[in-house]
Symmetry: C2
Subunit: 429 residues, 2 copies
């Protein structure tokens, strides 16, 4: 019976898996050197957990089901609710700041498309219990450190940064009443999808004057280098307080990543729960979905019944990242693990010795493969050894001194006889 | 709003996650050195995929749901059906033998208990396209290599091995008709759960004579060292052909793991799809569920519409393994990643230099943490550095020569001034 795989998922054959490992290993390495500790939660949670943050509307985007006790459960579409639940449950015993990362598989019940699958991996880094722009900047640094690690340069991507306080100050200076700020964020977030006329109409509904609409459009249409906070100040007028962006400017500059970043007020990240800095990383051409996105969410932990806890974090999916690295020619030539040693029998009489050699080399930590063929044609078998990319070929024959084996260095072509102990040394050298 | 985690799952806080990584990293390392390539599939598959191998009865053990197109899907309860689908789909282009491993998260909709959760990790190793006891023995060697890697000794666990052909030959020699062999396997599999009387009654239904029942009970009640195939032969009688076990005996001995293994005819592994060698690894006391189990399943790939393909493999869950390692005192004292360097500011005037130092050390690949405190009390901050387990503490102060920083080796107590370049060298030494 032939069964097709579901749509919008991936089968990871060895090559695809090695590529996935290349990305996930980089996420882990960069997270750890930036001082984040790894965590994970279950693949499914109570359906209610996702409603806390996102409302009932989220349900249609989830794969959900019930268990034997008829409890409603859902496959995780994101990690943040699990993180909030875990932090809230142990808020008092966890040392602060909490710096956690994870690389969970997540599922969304949506239609698949470019950069959008029904199952994907997402790297999350979060700093909780630490207020101020240092935490925001450290998150952004960690994200940029990963991009650099994978070979991307500042010219390849833009970290577009805004701040809810700055944005709200500007919107209010343009006439938006404070109780309509979230509506204004949603409008900004949808700007690319609506006509200029519609945008103007909606702005008017939010009490923005015609001059205000022009200022807003001018502010949204351009970006400001991190060093040019003054440019933004001039645009929005001297009465608008940009202190929050000033703090970010200093920290991003101190971390040495100002050239990767720019202020961009059009970055809103529709989610109502962001409270401060918000940012997205885009490939420079702007043709791809965002590589990463995040921000400060100081009220989320209390929403999950935990104590008020400042928090900032971001998520980066593997799908867009993989597309960008591929498009930029940043896929390494070789990322599949190659063997250290390839072992075969050069004669029938010595064939029974092969498993013991293989066992000893593997027990010494060496990646060891062996030939399963019945041929004893040494030339052909050495060719097989080369095909695997092995460093050494080791083979028995009737002439070898007892306790020694033939070793051929497949890079240099040198062939000698050596004991297992020597072979191990050679392979590890 | 306080939401409880679902039952039978685990939250992996940093310590639990580091322990999980310790196990999963060992799985990956041992798999790779044994020449297996990593693969993975989706977390959900078509519900039908699981029915192919296990029949409709499996549905109640699955978390299943439908997508927007009303297609029935299920979270994977095991990896083998995905493996079979993937191999069948590319059977002609995949080089043989196929040696794949994976470490998927799996879910079962059952009641949780000791050694049994609703979500767990399982290491799978499979060799496909290679017939003969060499493949069976290599799978068993890989499993034992993992156990040794984690500190277990032959005395701690037993690899209990049987063979469907040998078992069937014995059962037939005792009178079981060939069309009742699967029924006989199921009876053997349930022997521990039924009374001796019931067992005898069921045996009689399978046409086993009273003498036969005695022979069978004697054979099931004891195990035979791999070297003592003759003992088993004497018990079952000279007319029973044990050639298949002879081949296994030779290969397990050649791989040097005969002392870990024993023949045990009571190992049946209820699954109808096994066709040759079957084995289970048990902790020696027998008080835990099986650590691992597997066997040969030569007909499965054709069941999934692929070409006839010899196949052997095993699975090892993380839950029982973790329990056994803990009970045997084999949890390493330290398995959480410790920082290389801890950086702090020794004065307010130099505090702004810290992010740049941290950034440079991290970009050099060093695991670097920093203090977020506003205190400049060097003694207290050095204590914080020690608490993290860092190798070096690096701190600024007003007196340091420009371009140099204070470095304290936290193991030796030596304190010097050094450039970033020197600090990187010291930390990597």
């Amino acid at each position: 019976m032939k069964i097709q795989p579901p749509k919008g998922i991936r089968d990871f054959y060895p090559k695809e898996m090695a590529w996935r490992n290349y990305i996930v290993d980089a996420w882990r390495k960069v997270s750890e050197r930036n001082g984040f500790e790894q965590v994970d939660g279950p693949i499914f949670e109570s359906l209610d957990l996702y409603k806390v943050k996102s409302g009932d509307g989220i349900v249609s985007e989830l794969f959900h089901f019930t268990d034997r006790g008829d409890r409603p459960l859902a496959i995780r579409p994101e990690f943040t609710p699990t993180l909030a639940r875990m932090v809230a449950a142990q808020a008092n015993s966890l040392p602060k700041p909490i710096k956690w990362f994870c690389t969970p598989n997540l599922c969304r019940a949506e239609a698949p498309g470019r950069g959008r699958l029904r199952e994907f991996l997402q790297w999350n880094c979060d700093i909780l219990g630490l207020d101020g722009p240092i935490a925001d900047a450290e998150c952004i640094f960690t994200c940029v450190d990963l991009l650099m690690e994978l070979g991307l340069k500042a010219a390849d991507c833009r970290v577009k940064i805004s701040h809810r306080t700055a944005a709200s100050t500007i919107l209010q200076s343009l006439g938006v009443p404070s109780d309509k700020i979230i509506d204004a964020y949603n409008l900004l977030d949808s700007k690319a999808k609506v006509s200029p006329q519609e945008f103007a109409t909606e702005c008017a509904k939010l009490s923005i004057s015609e001059t205000g609409i022009a200022t807003l459009e001018a502010a949204l249409a351009r970006t400001f280098p991190i060093s040019d906070l003054q440019g933004l100040q001039t645009l929005v007028g001297p009465s608008v307080d940009l202190t929050t962006l000033k703090g970010l400017q200093e920290q991003l500059t101190a971390f040495g990543i100002a050239d990767w970043c720019e202020f961009d007020l059009s970055i809103v990240r529709g989610l109502a729960y962001y409270t401060g800095t918000v940012f997205e990383v885009h490939e420079s051409s702007g043709n791809e979905r965002a590589l990463a996105g995040g921000g400060r969410y100081d009220q989320l932990i209390s929403l999950f019944d935990g104590p008020a806890t400042p928090a900032v974090g971001f998520g980066m999916g593997d799908v867009v990242l993989s597309n960008v690295l591929t498009d930029k020619g940043l896929v390494p030539k070789s990322f599949q693990p190659a063997p250290d040693v390839f072992v075969f029998a050069g004669s029938d009489a010595t064939a029974a010795e092969v498993p013991a050699i293989v066992a000893a080399l593997r027990r010494a930590g060496l990646h060891t493969r062996m030939s399963y063929k019945t041929t004893r044609n040494v030339g052909k078998l050495l060719k097989d050894a080369s095909t695997t990319g092995a460093k050494l070929a080791v083979f028995t024959d009737d002439a070898a001194t007892p306790g020694t084996f033939n070793v051929k260095n497949l890079a240099t072509g040198t062939q000698t006889q050596a004991t297992l102990e020597d072979i191990i040394k050679q392979a590890k050298a």
